[in-house]
């Protein structure tokens, strides 16, 4: 069916396809009681484990030394321009949706040195790519990584630094149980269930508290085999599937993707001026977006030895100088910049990369300070 072809199109281009034996996912799935042994096993294997913790009443992704640090018992409320954490999820760990952090900070660091030049010598920075296990990625986050793989590896000029970082990442997904009010992964065909692009995928189940573990790579299989586990029973698998079925029925938002490129060709719609009047061009949406890849460069020269250094950092199409040519921005108005972002994300991205730039995580809606809702803007186009 169409869904599976979309999902396979999002598979990272170099991901190992082999490594799965038996009849299918069900045969490989195991059940673990707690995450302590997993975190310990990963750390013993040389991985920094990065997972969701509560910081200033926001779920953030940080390095953890043990599973105790994970954000247990919290759930979130996400609406346009609104994010609140509340207690009440009991022993459950992953009862919240996307956080402002995604894997992007690990695939494309916010700042990275490109090269240094001294005299006539130019040296590539070749920054380290430490082994990092990202624990708690959602299906939308995995889809976003596949989008970034396409952008940084699938073109005419593949990025060797990206590939080094990417190979050093271990991806541990969690199947969403409680989608947020701004989620629409079902519309974008990216979730809620993680079906590809992970090393391990967990489904958290209650009564008794346990995790069904699926493996998606040989690395993942080796790690799962090292954990205290039992084979997943038919009931475990049914409960796991039910989590995703239930999540799919509770999407906070919807986008009609049929004909979306035609609708976004309405460059002269009065909607652009209306949303432009609300937009603060603060860049929040692009900073939290897990696929926004735009960057700019900074130059610095050492006072001591004259070494010139070039740094690449995240940029946003909402800044005025983003499109500047000879001192004049091509897109001088808020409306023009908003139109560029939305049109790129949902339409011209498909022309450029053969896939949508949106994975339906809803971060741009939640973290917009004035609550601009992309799903509403898309629905209101002619």
């Amino acid at each position: 069916m169409g869904l599976s072809s979309l999902l396979s199109a999002r598979r990272p281009p170099y991901c190992e396809r082999e490594g799965r034996t038996g009849e299918g996912d069900a045969v490989d799935a195991v059940v673990i009681e707690t995450l302590e042994p997993l975190v310990a096993e990963l750390r013993a294997g040389g991985y920094a484990v990065v997972g969701p913790v509560v910081r200033e009443r926001v779920i953030r992704f940080e390095e953890i030394a043990s599973a105790d640090r994970l954000a247990r018992g919290w759930t979130d409320v996400q609406e346009p321009g609104r994010y609140r954490l509340t207690e009440g999820a009991g022993e459950m760990i992953f009862s919240f949706a996307a956080s402002p952090d995604s894997a992007k900070a690990y695939t494309q660091p916010p700042r990275q040195t490109l090269f240094r030049m001294r005299g006539e010598q130019i040296e590539e920075a070749e920054e380290d790519a430490p082994r990092v296990a990202l624990l708690g990625l959602r299906a939308c986050d995995l889809a976003a990584i596949a989008v970034q793989d396409r952008v940084f590896l699938g073109g005419r000029h593949p990025d060797p630094a990206y590939l080094r970082r990417r190979r050093a990442l271990l991806l541990i997904a969690v199947n969403c149980a409680v989608p947020g009010g701004t989620c629409f992964c079902v519309s974008m065909h990216t979730g809620p269930r993680a079906t590809t692009g992970f090393d391990l995928a967990l489904t958290e189940l209650a009564a008794p508290h346990r995790f069904v573990v699926e493996t998606g790579s040989e690395r993942g299989e080796r790690i799962a085999a090292a954990l205290p586990h039992r084979p997943a029973s038919a009931e475990d698998l049914a409960a796991s599937a039910e989590v995703s079925r239930n999540a799919a029925e509770h999407m906070g938002r919807h986008v009609e993707t049929e004909g979306i490129q035609e609708r976004l060709s309405a460059h002269d719609s009065p909607r652009w001026a209306q949303v432009g009047a609300r937009c603060l061009t603060c860049t929040n949406c692009t900073m939290v977006c897990p696929t926004c890849f735009c960057s700019t460069v900074e130059d610095a020269t050492s006072f001591t030895d004259g070494t010139a250094e070039r740094i690449e950092r995240w940029d946003s199409c909402f800044t005025l100088d983003f499109s500047e040519v000879n001192g004049t921005p091509v897109r001088g108005s808020n409306a023009g910049r908003y139109r560029q972002w939305l049109t790129h994300k949902f339409s011209t991205w498909i022309d450029q990369f053969g896939m949508s730039g949106c994975v339906g995580c809803g971060r741009c809606i939640t973290w917009c300070p004035v609550g601009i809702d992309v799903t509403e803007e898309l629905a209101n186009l002619p």
Partner: protein, 275 residues
């Protein structure tokens, strides 16, 4: 698949010579510190890096006898001013060449009209030289160059040389001085004065965007097929390898899909403000 160098890392190039063209414009000849200059196609550009200051896209205006690239730079910002200030022996960074150039092959056997405004003559210079090197391969060759003032005209020796080699070369200025005897006004007006057979004509146009739009529209009005008119677009190119996002123009990355693009493809987009 990606064992090679990072696409954002330049190679060191030495300034072999520096020729001031106008008060604010110089032409540098650049040679690699190690190895040879990669081949380039007319219309392509490089990313030139002024150490510690920044990097800009500059079109290649030719290959020097010594083998290096000649690149004409106008000092309009910090980076271009720093590059204009480089002297023979100085070392800069260079990446490229990048981008899609002019479709010389598509023009074979046809009349060719080259329209340049200001610095737009720089990326067209290798085209004219290639056309004239293979003079029998084309019909009539016309070069229309516009400049703000007579003293600001680029490559005046080349223009005279091209006329001797059989091109119909016309020059117009916006602001004439007392000595100026030539035409005054827009390059578009000169399109009416040159001889070409519109149905058998290919056109290469480079200059300020407004000039390119009017020139292309005029050529099409005269009967040239929109698919036989090429423009070299200018957008904010920071990476040149379709990863920084700055030069996007609708679905296009101007750095990789352009800078030379066919008018039939871009005309609808050029009509959209702020695209």
């Amino acid at each position: 698949m990606t064992g090679g160098p990072h696409p954002m890392t330049p190679a060191p190039y030495r300034v072999r010579s520096r020729r001031p063209d106008r008060a604010d414009t110089v032409t540098l000849t650049l040679e690699p510190v190690r190895g040879d200059c990669p081949p380039f196609w007319p219309g392509q550009f490089t990313m030139l890096y002024a150490p510690g200051v920044g990097e800009i896209a500059v079109s290649i205006s030719g290959r020097a006898r010594s083998g290096g690239y000649t690149q004409t730079i106008r000092a309009v910002g910090a980076v271009s001013a720093a590059l204009c200030g480089k002297r023979p022996g100085d070392v800069v960074g260079l990446r490229g060449p990048y981008g899609q150039g002019w479709s010389l092959r598509a023009a074979a056997g046809l009349d060719v009209v080259v329209v340049a405004g200001g610095l737009g003559l720089a990326p067209l210079r290798p085209v004219v030289r290639a056309l004239l090197r293979d003079r029998p391969g084309y019909g009539r060759i016309s070069v229309i160059a516009g400049s703000r003032a007579p003293g600001l005209l680029l490559y005046s020796r080349d223009l005279a040389c091209w006329a001797r080699q059989g091109a119909d070369v016309r020059v117009t200025v916006d602001h004439p001085d007392h000595a100026w005897r030539g035409p005054v006004g827009l390059v578009t007006h000169l399109i009416d004065r040159i001889v070409f057979e519109p149905r058998r004509t290919y056109a290469f146009v480079c200059g300020p965007e407004v000039m390119m739009r009017t020139a292309a529209a005029e050529l099409v009005r005269r009967g040239v097929a929109p698919g036989r008119v090429e423009l070299s677009l200018e957008r904010n190119m920071k990476c040149a390898v379709a990863r920084c996002g700055h030069c996007q123009f609708g679905p296009l990355f101007v750095c990789e899909d352009g800078p030379v693009l066919r008018y039939d493809r871009v005309a609808p987009m050029l009509a959209v403000p702020e695209l």
